[in-house]
Symmetry: C2
Subunit: 107 residues, 2 copies
Amino acid sequence: MAENPTASPVSNNLSPDVPRGADETVDSLLNGDGVRLERIVSRGQASPAGFWCDQEEAEWVMVLSGRARLTVEGETSDRELGPGDSLFLPAHCRHRVAWTAPDQATI
Amino acid sequence: MAENPTASPVSNNLSPDVPRGADETVDSLLNGDGVRLERIVSRGQASPAGFWCDQEEAEWVMVLSGRARLTVEGETSDRELGPGDSLFLPAHCRHRVAWTAPDQATI
């Protein structure tokens, strides 16, 4: 991450203040030199049919609460992620969100 | 993170297979270009008295389970972190682990 000796420590809780309502929300938590940290809260959202996410950057994702299923292109079954489960997606590893739990917030 | 189009997606769960025993363990989960991801499991460990952690790199820490108290140099009270709490420590922000819960794993 970027060296930034003048900045102060910043604390945060990723679970409370989960936005209410049905929309998916993405909050930027940190923007460093070569790394970006986001909190995504989904409530049943999934990628549009036929859509694949193909990113320049590698991504590491972890589920804090809720449940999600991700499809990785070329794999025969989805990867289901619950609390504590993480997945590293190399750059240009095409993937899509197949499902997120409709009855709770998936963080 | 490093672009690495040949690598495969890697999944992981940060909570199960928590090492038993009293020692603190540090596992490297990811080593990218400019970013490093580690899982630290503490069971009551704290920084040695008088020791301050002073790092070249910025650090972002999140507690998944358990409980920890961190002291940031110059602050009058400790920062207590529970599940979902995170703290961004800029490079060279001197800090120490004042306490971790002795009766459970703090991940």
